[in-house]
C-alpha cells in the first residue's frame, strides 16, 4: 500500500512543481492559477465567455464543484492558487477544508477573490462578503428593482434586470476605454459598511432603485436599501494589495447577458451588446493584477556630493533622495510617470513634505535640507491613488545634533569676548607680578 501512495504523492508533487514555479511573485504580480468554485458544472458552459476570456489571457482555471470534498487551496503551507472565483451563491458550505476563515486567510496572504452572489445567497457567501465590508440585503429573497432605469426587455416585466451605468471613475480599474453600453444586472443589492474604508463601489445603482422582494407587496415601510446607497458591484483593495470583487449578480457573468443587447428605459440609445463583457473583463484584469500594480524600489538617500548612504544625518545637512517607481503592464514593468509622488521627512509629524520630480524613466528624486531638529526620522513615501496598489515605504534614519567640534570655532561677533578673555589672562600675570615684586 505504501509504495503506490508514495508514487501518487510524488506524481502530485511533480504536477504541482510547474505551478509553484509560475506562482504569484513580487516580480510578476499577475495571477496565474485560479480556482473556480461552481454551484453547478453547467455554469461552466453558461458562463463560458467569461472563462474563455480569462483563459485567453493566460490563466490556468481549475473548476471544482463548491461541495467537492477534494477542495484545498493550501498544501504544506503553500497556496496552490493565486486567485479564487466563487460562482457559488447558494452553497451553504464548501467541500474539503475550505471555509470562511480559509477564504479570508487566502485573501490576507495576498491572493485575489471574485465573489458572485445572487438572490437567495447563502450565509457562507454573505459572511465572506461581510468580512470584506459588504453587507447584502438581509432579506434573502430581495433583489434590486428599478422602475426607471431598467433594461427594456420583452420577456421580463418586473424591472429586476437593471441597466446600470454608474461606474467608478477610474481608468486604472476599468481600463482606458470608456464603457459605452450599460451593464445588465440582475440580482441582490448590497451596501458598504461605513466602518470599512477600503471598499469601493465599482458599479452603483441609480437613485431610483431599491431592494425588495418582487413577489411580495410593498409595505408602507421604506425598503432597507434604496437609491445610490445600493452598490451592485464592489471592489476592495486590501492593504496587502490583494483585490476582491463582490458582485450581487451571478447572471452578469453569464453568456446570455454578455451577448444581450441593451436599451435603458427612457433612453433612445439601443446597444447591440451590453457592457457586461467589457466591464467584467476589465474589472477582472484589475482584480488579477494585470493593471494598476505599482512597485517602488531603490529607495536611496545621500548627502549632497556623496554617493554612499550614510547611517545617520546631522541637522541641517543637505541631502538627496530618490526612489524608483514602476508599474506592471501585465507582462513587464514599465516606468510609472506621475507628478504627485511626495516624500515626507517624518518624525511624529512631517517636517519636510516635498513633491518628487521624475525623469520619466521611473526615477523620482528631490533634495532638501534636514530640519534643525534631531531625532529618529523616517523617509516616508505614502502613495495612495485610486486603483493603484498603495505604496507605503518608510526608511528610518537618525538625525544627530552637532558634535562638539563641528561648531564654528571663531565667530566674528564674539571678538569682544575673545578680547576680554585674553586681556584677562594678560592682566592676571601683570597684576600678580606687580603686586608680588613691586614692594
Amino acid at each position: 500500500m505504501a509504495a503506490p501512495k508514495f508514487a501518487f504523492l510524488l506524481l502530485n508533487l511533480i504536477s504541482i512543481l510547474p505551478l509553484l514555479v509560475s506562482s504569484f511573485s513580487v516580480d510578476r504580480p499577475t495571477d496565474r492559477r485560479i480556482l473556480v468554485l461552481l454551484d453547478d458544472l453547467s455554469l461552466k458552459s453558461s458562463h463560458s465567455l467569461f472563462f474563455s476570456s480569462l483563459k485567453s489571457r493566460g490563466f490556468d482555471l481549475d473548476f471544482k464543484l463548491a461541495d467537492d470534498p477534494a477542495i484545498a487551496v493550501k498544501r504544506y503551507g503553500q497556496y496552490m492558487y493565486d486567485g479564487l472565483i466563487l460562482l457559488s451563491p447558494s452553497t451553504e458550505r464548501f467541500g474539503g477544508s475550505l471555509d470562511v476563515e480559509g477564504v479570508l486567510d487566502f485573501v490576507d496572504s495576498g491572493h485575489d477573490l471574485i465573489v458572485a452572489a445572487d438572490a437567495n445567497a447563502s450565509d457562507l457567501i454573505r459572511n465572506i462578503a461581510a468580512e470584506c465590508g459588504v453587507d447584502f440585503d438581509e432579506d434573502p429573497s430581495a433583489v434590486v428593482v428599478d422602475h426607471s432605469s431598467y433594461a427594456v426587455s420583452e420577456t421580463e416585466g418586473d424591472h429586476t434586470l437593471i441597466a446600470a451605468d454608474d461606474f467608478i471613475q477610474s481608468d486604472v480599474i476599468l481600463g482606458n476605454k470608456k464603457i459605452e453600453a450599460p451593464v445588465l444586472f440582475k440580482g441582490i443589492g448590497h451596501s458598504l459598511n461605513p466602518a470599512n474604508s477600503m471598499v469601493l463601489k465599482a458599479l452603483s445603482a441609480s437613485p431610483s432603485s431599491y431592494s425588495t422582494n418582487p413577489s411580495s407587496k410593498l409595505s408602507s415601510q421604506p425598503p432597507s436599501l434604496y437609491g445610490t446607497a445600493i452598490s451592485l458591484v464592489s471592489v476592495v483593495q486590501a492593504r496587502n494589495a490583494a483585490r476582491i470583487m463582490i458582485s450581487g449578480s451571478l447572471d452578469m457573468f453569464s453568456n446570455r447577458l454578455f451577448r444581450a443587447g441593451v436599451q435603458k428605459s427612457g433612453s433612445l440609445n439601443k446597444y447591440e451588446k451590453s457592457g457586461n463583457e467589457q466591464f467584467i473583463t476589465e474589472l477582472s484584469k484589475w482584480i488579477f493584477h494585470e493593471r494598476g500594480h505599482l512597485k517602488a524600489v531603490n529607495l536611496r538617500h545621500n548627502k549632497v556630493g556623496e554617493s554612499e548612504e550614510p547611517s545617520m544625518y546631522r541637522i541641517n545637512d543637505d541631502l538627496e533622495f530618490s526612489v524608483e517607481i514602476f508599474e506592471w503592464s501585465g507582462s513587464s514593468w514599465v516606468p510609472h510617470v506621475s507628478k504627485d509622488v511626495q516624500v515626507q521627512f517624518y518624525m511624529m509629524s512631517p517636517y519636510v513634505l516635498k513633491t518628487l520630480s521624475t525623469n520619466g524613466k521611473g526615477l523620482y528624486h528631490t533634495s532638501f535640507k534636514v530640519p534643525d531638529v534631531y531625532g529618529v526620522f523616517q523617509f516616508k513615501v505614502e502613495y495612495q491613488k485610486l486603483g493603484y496598489t498603495s505604496l507605503s515605504l518608510s526608511k528610518q534614519i537618525p538625525v544627530r545634533p552637532f558634535k562638539h567640534n563641528e561648531y564654528e570655532r571663531f565667530i566674528t561677533t564674539a571678538f569682544p569676548y575673545y578680547g576680554a578673555s585674553f586681556s584677562m589672562m594678560a592682566g592676571f600675570f601683570i597684576f600678580s607680578g606687580v603686586y608680588l615684586y613691586n614692594k
Binding site: M198, R239, A242
Partner: protein, 851 residues
C-alpha cells in the same frame, strides 16, 4: 618676652564661661626647651585691633601635660581651677613642628625618648593595619551579591551606565562625548553625551584601560560590577582622614569602621550596583574633607584640591548641588557666629571660583552653574564675603603670597574688582567711622542691586527657577501635588522611621551624642560636620534615597561620640590602675576623660561603672556589626533583576524572568523593533534586549511618558492608535500575579494613570477606582477591567490555577481572584511570556488587512 601669637579661636569678641575659652599659644623663640601655654579664661578682655593684640586681661600660665602623643591637641591644666580644657591649635603643621621639637621633661628625657618612639611606631602600625583591614572589609562585605547571585549589574539605572561605559570603552571618549543615542526615547532620541554625569563611566573606563595596560584581561562588566565596592573602600580612607581632621585619629578610625559597613551606604554600593552614587559619596566626602582641611589650614593648596574634588563630584552625580549649597551656608554661619577668618576667605574663594569653572566643563551642568536658582546661594555668599575687609583678619600665618594669588584671581574677574576697591577706599579713609558709613552704604546698595539683578534675571528667564526636584526637597508635599513622575519613584518617598532604624541602627542614637560632643568642643571643623549632619538628616527624612547623603555625616558624628566616650572610659579605667603621670601622658588629649578622671574621685564605683559602660558599648557595637552584615546579606544584595524566593520546602527559588525576556527580545525581534513598556524597564531593554524603547528611566520628557501612560490606561482600540503613532512593534508588561511579585505593572498602574492624566485630561483617576479603592477583582471599575494594561497583564490568566485551593485566575500579588477572566485581544497578540509570567511581551498586529 619673645612670645609669638600663634592662634586665637575668636579674636575681637568676648564670651563668658569656660566653654568659650580663648587661648593663645606662645612660644619663646630660640629657646627650645621651654614651652608655655597661656590660657585666657572667659570674662577677661581681649582687645584686638588691626590684627594686633593690644590688651589681654588675666593670663594664667599653665603646664603642658601632654603634647607628644597627639601634636594636634594639647591638654593643659589650669592651676586654681577644676576644669581642664582640651585645646586644639588650628595650625596643625606648626604645632606638629613644635611638638616634634619639644623634648620630654628634662629628667627622663633619654629613657623616654626611645620608649616613646616605639609606642609611636606601634600606634602607627596598629592604625595602618586597622585601616587596611577596614579597607578590605568595606570591599568584601559588598560582595555578598556576587556570592548569592553572580557577577551582574543590578537594578535599572546601572544598566544604562553599563551600556554607556561599554560604548565609551569601545568607541573612545570623543564618540562618547558626542553620542546621540537613537535607541532610546524613540523617536526623539537622546544626546547621551550631554545629558549624563560622565564621572562614573569615565572612572570605570579608566580603571578598565589601566588594567588592560597592565595586561589584566578583564571584561568591562567585572570592572563595572566592582567599581562601587572599590570606591566604598576608598571612602573609608577619606572618612578616616576626615575624622582625624574633625576630632582625632581615634575618631577617624571609628568613622572608617562605621562607614565601611553602614547599611545606608551599602544599599547603594554593593557589587553590581553600578550607579553614580557609588563614586559620588566618595567624591562628596572627599570634597568636604578637603574643604574643611582648607578652612583649618587656610591653605590654597587644600582649597585647590577641594575644588578638584568638587569637580569630580559634579562629574559624577547631580547631588553636587548639596555641596554647592551647604558650603555657602556654612560660610554664612561662620560669618554670623563671628568665626569668619582669612582662612575661610581663602578656602571659599578658591574653592568656589575654581570649582565653578571646573564644573562648567561638564556638559550637563554647563552654564547652569551660574544661571540656575540652585546655584545662586553660592554666588551670593561669594560676593558677600568680598565686602568684608580682609585686612582685619589677615594673620601672619597666611602667607602673603597666597593673599596675592587670591586677589589676583579675584581681580581678574572684573566684577570683583569692585569689592577689592573697598580695601583701597579703606586705605584712603583713615577715619573708621567714615569708612563704616561708606561700607554700610555700599553694602546696602550692593545687596539691593543683587536682589534686583536676581529678580530681573529670574523674571526674564536668564536665571532659571528652581527645578521640581529641588522644590520637592524643600517642600516634601510638592512633588505629590505637582510632579507625579517624581513622586512615583519609590526612592523619592518620604522616609519611614523603620528605614532610618534599618539603615543606621545604633548610629541613630549615637548621632545626637556626637552632636553633643561637637558642640562641647566647637571649632570650624565641628561646626561644619554639625551642619552637614543636620541638613542631610533633614533631606534624608524627605527622601529615602538621601539617607545615602546623610550616612557619612551620621557615621562621622557617631564616630566622634564613640571615640570620645570610649576614650573617656578607658582613661578612667587606666588612671586608676596606673596613677603615675606616665598614664596621663599616654591617655592623651581628652578633656572629658580627664574631667571624668577628676570627677571619679567623688564616685567610688567609677571604675567598675566605666568597665560596665565599656562592655555595654562593646555590645552595642557588636550588635551594629551583626545588624549590618545581616542587612547587607539579606536586604541589600539582591540585584532585583533576578528575584529569589523561598519555595514550599524552604529551598531557594530563582526567578530569572527579566533576563529571559530580554534575551528573547534580542534573539527574536527585528533589530529595529520598538518596544513600549513603562519607563522603569527602558534602560534594561536597551542594555540587555538591544532594542529601541519609547521611554526610559531618564525621565526627561514628561509628555512622552504620559503618552505611554495614556496608552496603557486606554481601551485597546484607543491605545492602538497611540501605539501606531509611535511605531511600536512590541509591548512589554511586568506581571507578578503568578509569583506574587508585588512591584509589577498593575501595582504601578495608578501612577501611569496619574502621569498620563497630568498631560492628557481624558484620563481620569476616579475612572479606575471604586469608592476610592483600587481593585482588580470583580468589584473593580469597568474601565480598569478593560484597559490595555489590565488586558495585557491578565490575558489568559483566568485559565491558570496559581495556588492550590484557590479558583483559577487567583492573583497572588494582590491576593484576589481577578475580575475579568475572559480577555480577548484584538490588535495585539501574545508573543512571549516568561516561565513565571513575570514578563509578558505582546506583538502589535498590523492594521486589519481589509478594513
Amino acid at each position: 618676652m619673645l612670645f609669638q601669637l600663634i592662634q586665637s579661636t575668636l579674636p575681637g569678641k568676648e564670651k563668658p564661661g569656660f566653654d568659650n575659652l580663648y587661648f593663645f599659644v606662645k612660644k619663646k623663640q630660640g629657646v627650645q626647651t621651654e614651652r608655655r601655654v597661656i590660657v585666657v579664661v572667659g570674662g577677661t578682655k581681649i582687645v584686638v585691633r588691626g590684627g594686633k593684640l593690644v590688651a589681654v586681661g588675666i593670663c594664667i600660665p599653665v603646664e603642658v601635660i601632654s603634647s607628644l602623643q597627639n601634636p594636634n591637641s594639647l591638654t593643659v591644666e589650669i592651676p586654681n581651677s577644676d576644669p581642664i580644657h582640651q585645646i586644639r591649635p588650628m595650625v596643625a603643621a606648626k604645632m606638629e613642628k613644635s611638638a616634634a621639637d619639644l623634648p620630654a621633661s628634662p629628667g627622663l628625657s633619654s629613657v623616654l625618648k626611645s620608649l616613646k618612639l616605639k609606642t609611636k611606631q606601634q600606634e602607627l602600625l596598629i592604625r595602618v593595619s586597622v585601616l587596611f583591614l577596614v579597607y578590605v572589609l568595606a570591599f568584601i562585605t559588598r560582595l555578598f551579591s556576587i556570592l548569592r547571585y553572580e557577577s551582574m549589574i543590578h537594578e535599572f539605572d546601572p544598566y544604562f551606565n553599563y551600556r554607556v561605559t561599554q560604548f565609551l570603552t569601545q568607541n573612545g571618549f570623543y564618540e562618547f562625548w558626542n553620542w546621540f543615542d537613537y535607541e532610546s526615547w524613540y523617536p526623539l532620541g537622546r544626546i547621551v553625551g550631554g545629558t549624563l554625569y560622565p564621572g562614573l563611566m569615565v572612572t570605570a573606563a579608566f580603571i578598565f584601560w589601566t588594567l588592560r595596560f597592565l595586561r589584566f584581561a578583564v571584561h568591562i562588566r567585572e570592572v563595572c560590577v566592582l567599581t562601587a565596592p572599590f570606591f566604598a573602600a576608598n571612602t573609608t580612607i577619606v572618612a578616616y582622614f576626615f575624622g582625624k581632621e574633625l576630632w582625632d585619629s581615634g575618631a577617624g578610625l571609628v568613622a572608617a569602621v562605621l562607614i565601611a559597613i553602614c547599611p545606608g551606604y551599602i544599599s547603594r554600593s554593593v557589587a553590581g550596583s553600578y550607579d553614580n552614587e557609588g563614586v559620588a559619596i566618595f567624591a562628596l566626602l572627599l570634597t568636604f574633607y578637603l574643604f574643611v582641611k582648607a578652612v583649618n589650614t587656610g591653605s590654597l593648596a587644600w582649597a585647590l584640591a577641594s575644588a578638584f574634588g568638587y569637580f569630580y563630584m559634579v562629574s559624577a552625580w547631580g547631588g553636587y548641588v548639596f555641596i554647592i549649597n551647604l558650603i555657602p551656608l556654612y560660610v554664612l554661619v561662620l560669618l554670623i557666629t563671628g568665626r569668619y577668618s582669612m582662612r575661610l576667605y581663602v578656602a571659599y574663594n578658591c574653592m568656589y571660583v575654581l570649582g565653578m569653572l571646573l564644573a562648567m566643563q561638564i556638559r550637563f551642568v554647563g552654564f547652569q552653574h551660574v544661571q540656575s536658582g540652585e546655584h545662586m546661594a553660592a554666588m551670593g555668599v561669594f560676593f558677600l564675603i568680598q565686602f568684608l575687609p580682609s585686612h582685619q583678619y589677615s594673620r601672619p600665618t597666611i602667607s602673603r603670597f597666597y593673599v596675592v594669588i587670591i586677589k589676583a584671581i579675584l581681580t581678574s574677574s572684573y566684577l570683583v574688582q569692585v569689592f577689592n576697591f573697598l580695601d583701597w577706599v579703606k586705605y584712603l579713609l583713615d577715619d573708621p567711622k567714615k569708612f563704616h558709613t561708606f561700607l554700610r552704604f555700599t553694602v546696602t546698595s550692593a545687596v539691593g542691586l543683587g536682589a534686583v539683578a536676581l529678580g530681573v534675571g529670574t523674571a526674564s528667564g536668564y536665571i532659571s527657577p528652581w527645578t521640581g526636584r529641588f522644590y520637592s526637597l524643600l517642600d516634601p508635599t510638592y512633588a505629590k501635588d505637582h510632579i507625579p513622575i517624581i513622586a512615583s519613584v519609590s526612592e523619592h518617598q518620604p522616609t519611614a522611621w523603620s528605614s532610618f532604624m534599618f539603615d543606621f541602627h545604633i548610629l541613630l542614637f549615637l548621632f545626637p551624642a556626637g552632636l553633643y560632643f561637637c558642640f562641647k568642643r566647637l571649632s570650624d571643623a565641628t561646626i561644619f560636620i554639625v551642619m552637614y549632619g543636620l541638613t542631610s538628616m533633614y533631606f534624608a527624612g524627605v527622601m529615602v534615597r538621601l539617607i545615602l547623603v546623610a550616612t557619612p555625616a551620621v557615621c562621622l558624628i557617631s564616630a566622634i561620640a564613640v571615640s570620645a566616650t570610649v576614650k573617656n572610659l578607658t582613661q578612667l579605667v587606666r588612671s586608676k590602675s596606673k596613677p603615675a603621670p606616665a598614664g596621663s601622658s599616654k591617655g592623651a588629649s581628652n578633656t572629658k576623660a580627664s574631667s571624668k578622671g577628676s570627677l571619679e574621685q567623688s564616685m567610688p564605683f567609677g571604675r567598675n561603672g566605666a568597665i560596665a559602660l565599656l562592655l555595654g558599648a562593646l555590645y552595642l557595637l557588636s550588635r551594629y556589626v551583626i545588624h549590618c552584615t545581616w542587612v547587607t546579606s539579606e536586604a541589600y544584595s539582591s540585584p532585583s533583576i533576578v528575584l529569589a524566593a523561598r519555595g514550599a520546602h524552604g529551598q531557594r527559588v530563582i526567578f530569572d524572568d527579566y533576563r529571559e525576556a530580554y534575551f528573547w527580545l534580542r534573539q527574536n525581534t527585528p533589530p529595529e523593533a520598538k518596544v513600549m513598556s513603562w519607563w522603569d524597564y527602558g534602560y534594561q531593554i536597551t542594555a540587555m534586549g538591544n532594542r529601541t524603547v519609547i521611554v526610559d528611566n531618564n525621565t526627561w520628557n514628561n509628555t512622552h511618558i504620559a503618552t505611554v501612560g495614556r496608552a496603557m490606561s486606554s481601551y485597546e482600540d484607543e491605545a492602538y492608535e497611540i501605539i501606531k503613532s509611535l511605531d511600536v512593534d512590541y509591548v512589554l508588561v511586568v506581571f507578578g500575579g503568578v509569583t506574587g511579585y508585588s512591584s509589577d505593572d498593575i501595582n504601578k498602574f495608578l501612577w501611569m494613570v496619574r502621569i498620563g492624566g497630568g498631560v492628557f485630561p481624558v484620563i481620569k483617576e476616579p475612572d479606575y477606582l471604586v469608592n476610592g479603592e483600587y481593585r482588580v477583582d470583580k468589584g473593580g471599575a469597568p474601565k480598569m477591567l478593560n484597559c490595555l494594561m489590565y488586558k495585557l497583564c491578565y490575558y489568559r490568566f483566568g485559565e491558570l490555577t496559581t495556588e492550590y485551593g484557590k479558583p483559577p485566575g487567583y492573583d497572588r500579588a494582590r491576593g484576589v481572584e481577578i475580575g475579568n477572566k475572559d480577555i480577548k485581544l484584538e490588535h495585539l497578540e501574545e508573543a512571549f511570556t516568561t516561565s513565571n509570567w513575570i514578563v509578558r511581551i505582546y506583538k502589535v498586529k498590523p492594521p486589519n488587512n481589509r478594513w
